[in-house]
Symmetry: C2
Subunit: 339 residues, 2 copies
């Protein structure tokens, strides 16, 4: 974190370096790019001069000239949910390690905001895009992005039938596994907490239904409580369920933060997950390992999903013509203390 000259001049160009090193502009450019065309000795002299002068490479200019870009846009729907933060973290890490710098935008599930940031990233000429679409994103998005010529991968929420790179989870399988586990433990009245709409919601709900059907347990609509998929929603959902006549003895959840909220509701009623009620979450966010009590959940490996998405994008940038890439992470039942 030290520069030779404390007040390094913006405005120093390769021409200045060239002069100082006694070579031509092009030679400096080649050296800066690590070209093997330049003699080692010369390269050293140039590097040294650049350092001494406090020269700063101007990537804007280079990118303009080469018609390239080393930025990648990452747009995320909801960072209040640690699941998406974990995704962001692993995407960012992989992209930075690959030499990119990431343009990040948070949409707050706001489609209009999303539209704006995408437009803005387009003007920035990003080399690629990884996006967790906001709820209600038009299904034309993947096609639009392709029209723009920007390599993209969509995460978590599928966007219709088009041919676009995608990374997600086996939602139905995951929730089926969770529900079956509770059934195997002897539970008959099992709630489904949280979530409002969207493909992911439908898939997860389908997994729940399927497990019940297989066990010949009739599906009771009153056990499905639809709320926003966050802590408040989970708390509210379970509270409602606990006040109903035929209380359930267990519940699966749309996602982990909903389950975390449900834990709070249990506490409100002086109940404890594990001994008094069985609860299973979905995602396996880091927080669940240290919740009160630690939450059993369906692990869809958030960090791995992010890395996968970044990897796909890098491949797509490298070879734009490769065929469609899709990945669904396999859910693993992770037993802790809440069931």
């Amino acid at each position: 974190m030290t520069t030779r000259s404390t007040t390094s001049k913006r405005g120093l160009t390769i021409l200045d370096v060239a002069q100082a090193a006694g070579v031509s502009k092009s030679t400096v450019s080649l050296v800066l790019q690590g070209s093997p065309l330049i003699r080692e000795e010369t390269a050293q002299r140039v590097q040294e001069a650049a350092w001494r002068l406090g020269y700063v490479y101007n990537r804007q200019a280079a990118d303009l000239r080469r018609r390239s870009s080393n930025t990648i846009g990452v747009v995320i729907n909801d960072l209040a949910n640690p699941f998406f933060t974990e995704l962001l973290i692993s995407v960012e890490r992989k992209l930075v390690d690959a030499g990119y710098v990431v343009l990040m935008a948070h949409t707050h599930e706001d489609v209009d905001r999303q539209r704006k940031v995408l437009l803005s990233m387009r003007e920035q000429n990003t080399a690629g895009l990884v996006i967790c679409p906001a709820q209600g994103t038009p299904l034309t998005l993947p096609r639009d992005l392709q029209g723009w010529g920007i390599p993209s991968v969509i995460m978590i929420r599928p966007l219709g039938e088009g041919s676009y790179d995608f990374v997600g989870a086996q939602n139905s399988v995951g929730l089926q596994t969770a529900t079956q586990h509770l059934i195997a433990q002897g539970h008959k009245r099992i709630g489904f907490l949280g979530g409002l709409s969207g493909t992911v919601y439908k898939e997860r709900l389908a997994g729940y239904s399927k497990a019940l059907k297989k066990a010949k347990i009739p599906l009771d609509e009153k056990l499905i409580i639809s709320t926003k998929p966050n802590r408040e929603g989970g708390r509210e959902a379970l509270t409602r369920l606990l006040q109903s006549k035929e209380k359930p003895t267990a519940a699966v959840c749309y996602n982990d933060i909903t389950a975390l909220g449900a834990l709070t509701a249990l506490g409100d009623h002086h109940l404890r997950a594990g001994s008094d009620f069985a609860l299973i979450g979905f995602d396996n966010i880091l927080d669940t390992a240290q919740s009160n009590p630690p939450l059993s959940t369906i692990d869809i490996h958030p960090a791995m999903l992010g890395e996968k998405a970044a990897g796909m994008l890098l491949k797509r940038i490298e070879t734009p013509t490769i065929e469609r890439q899709i990945f669904f992470s396999e859910p693993d039942l992770l037993l802790r203390q809440s069931c």
Copy 2:
């Protein structure tokens, strides 16, 4: 999210637009910048042509020419802590609303990674920087950034005595308030959970000591458990304390996630915060409103801090010569159920 031409050509320039609209290049440029020099009627014709062609403004080129930039770098130390995520969210929102696009980097408390991303952002020629320094960041950082000529604001963790814009919290006051509240409730043995080192740690610990001293309660080193400031750390810290001979009846925490971990430890021992033990966190992250039980905490208004930091940076960019800006958020005791 629709473009007129589905496969919009990168490679369309203002020259193409000029031709299509029957005006000169400069006129198009002026229109694109919303200059009042151009007749409304002409402007419309140009806009229409740009839209029809699927023209995309090339900000790289514009920025190069004007020697400007519309990106701002945001570098964050630890997104696994929701406090910093909330900071990031509000910083990002304010910057995007001001017309910038944000280059985001996560350092994982890794000083070396931080050095690299800062170098990279410098090459990108960012208009400014807001940074939550990684633990162990050299105190020369603010001076280096000034040397680079990049307007910057430092968040949360002060970096020595230099003259740099800063946004943080009144750490000592906050922890003193929390501790005093517990004392007022009759607690005599009060633990201090989590945290390892750093200025912030020292300040918070000082607030705790001060409150004890004021109440003439001797400080017992055995009640100060130093661990990583995260959930595991908090759980471990309180577990250790609960196994000691003279158990405390209450504890304050380095931060909220530590407190959340402590809640888990309490659960492990079939204890409940509020009735069996009094616990107060620090930060007021969103999660604490729905923890089990909801956590009393010191509210330092995370979202407001982020907005403040972004606001400072915008001002600094606008007027580089204004004098030093500093802000410390006033901590408010927020009583919920954990004490």
